[in-house]
Symmetry: C2
Subunit: 312 residues, 2 copies
């Protein structure tokens, strides 16, 4: 099998489609691991940046995918992933037989299952492989990947997975399971950020010393990974986006759609989604997701570090 | 100062009022540390249990408190605490001048401030000292205490605090601040348990392997202290109460009352409270708080380990 996946020179040829903060780091990690990497992005500047770093660029997604053993798609959602494969300029027709398409976008498991089935019909493999870890871990090749797909899809993707990830969960032999695990994680992450912001601004409203609140809570049963990670942005008054409000508008939207179609109630996720929508509606959609704390402060007259939300 | 707080023999005399799972362990920890401890509980059997262990028992709260240097109150809420001090059989009149009343119940900060002011008028000190850590840590003397109060209150309470806690946060010189920190913790803890249950039963509804979900999530950004601690109860199908649903009916109720009076919106805490109320209404009020997972499963037909919630 692996001989099919190597080109004449024995080097694995990988295409990366989408060179944003995640895709750029993933492309560099694969290049560093010895893969021959071709990058494409709808923004020519992103391709230029990769070329400056010694990578190879392509003018279209099809040019990048043609002849590749592995195509890693690093776009935002299921609709973009479908567009890349099967849209007007879709690459499905140029992917070589037996190659593997590695999809890292967060999406409804049903969409992942559908895309995988259409891929297999056309003769290439599909690995459902959502990622977790942020831009810094993408750059260092230390992502967490929640993957599912056929044995052939895993085997074909292996050189790329090993280059990109510190931890690869192999969650089953059909696409969709990886996506489902990722959605469970996003439900919790989205609720925990909202809870962290609800709590820290409530502490501010009561005049508590916020640095002390951070110290006590992170050592107590009320802590969460997100409280520990996001509250420092609030304490610094720094809402530069590491991950934006709009990401959770999207991801909790998917959770809500999935839950509605399965007749499963998600009151916590639904309440959190309303807060992300309110923050986006108030103009903070592209700001850091910890901006929910600013929203709570604005609504209540609480004062947070570096903001001017108190009504005077 | 400390000479005032010791009896003729040089031993600190401490009273513990409320010998439930927390108070019993706290009384034993103080006894082990060399304090002379008198215990009282409205249930005579609880007093008997403490006496069997070599402790001293009292027939009334006033008998326990009379002459004590430190009175540790381990009851459920602010109303019970007020009753112990100022109710028909209240002990406020028998507490000796300069002694300290250590209040460990979770309550609205405004109630803690009020009780403290009334105590100071009568000539004894009040330490606002809510606890965290559960029965096992109460028994081993390793609780976390979130305390605030006057310098005199801290000094008087010190022998008891040192005996009961591994970590004592000194959060300010007025009662109410400790209570406020505890409420921030309870807001987060209550939301995180509800989110953990919403997520794990949603995973069950989708047919995911729950042990794997636990492994992946606890290593990911969606984790929380409560997810890590409570989901194993669900995986074991064991809803024996370590902490009951009714505790969060009470604590998120306090959060909601505080937030309403301060005109601060708490949509996450409010959504979580509705789920605890639903679980209590469905007959699970005295079961473990992870019973919210059973509620979600019953509502949706998901199958959890050891339960029979799937409609057939």
């Amino acid at each position: 099998m692996s001989s099919q996946l190597e080109n004449a020179g024995g080097t694995v040829l990988a295409a990366v489609i989408g060179l944003g903060s995640m895709g750029f780091g993933m492309a560099r990690s694969m290049k560093r691991a010895g893969l021959d990497v071709v990058g494409y992005d709808i923004a020519p500047a992103a391709v230029g940046r990769f070329v400056e770093e010694g990578g190879r660029g392509a003018a279209t997604a099809a040019d990048a995918a043609r002849g590749a053993d592995i195509i890693v798609s690093v776009v935002v959602n299921g609709a973009q992933t479908e567009g890349i494969l099967f849209g007007p300029d879709g690459i499905a027709g140029v992917i070589k037989p037996g190659a593997v398409f590695v999809s890292s976008a967060t999406m409804d498991p049903a969409v992942a299952r559908d895309l995988s089935q259409r891929a297999e019909v056309l003769g290439f493999h599909y690995l459902d492989a959502p990622i977790s870890g942020g831009a810094a871990k993408a750059a260092s090749g230390e992502l967490t990947i929640m993957a599912s797909g056929s044995k052939a899809a895993f085997e074909g993707a292996r050189p790329a997975l090993d280059a990109m990830a510190a931890k690869i969960y192999e969650l089953g032999d059909t696409a969709g399971t990886g996506a489902a695990f990722k959605m469970i994680n996003q439900l919790l992450a989205g609720v925990h950020i909202a809870a962290a912001c609800e709590a820290i601004s409530f502490a501010a409203k009561q005049g508590l010393e916020l640095g002390k609140v951070y110290e006590v809570i992170t050592a107590s049963a009320g802590s969460s990974w997100m409280f520990e990670n996001r509250v420092p942005h609030v304490l610094a008054g720094d809402y530069t986006p590491r991950s934006a409000i709009e990401i959770f508008v999207k991801d909790l939207g998917i959770v809500q759609d999935m839950a509605r179609s399965e007749r499963y109630p998600v009151p916590l996720a639904a309440a959190a989604l309303q807060m992300y929508l309110a923050a986006a509606g108030a103009g903070m959609g592209r700001d850091d997701d910890s901006s929910l704390a600013r929203l709570y402060a604005q609504l209540s007259g609480a004062t947070l570090p570096g903001t001017n939300s108190k009504k005077e």
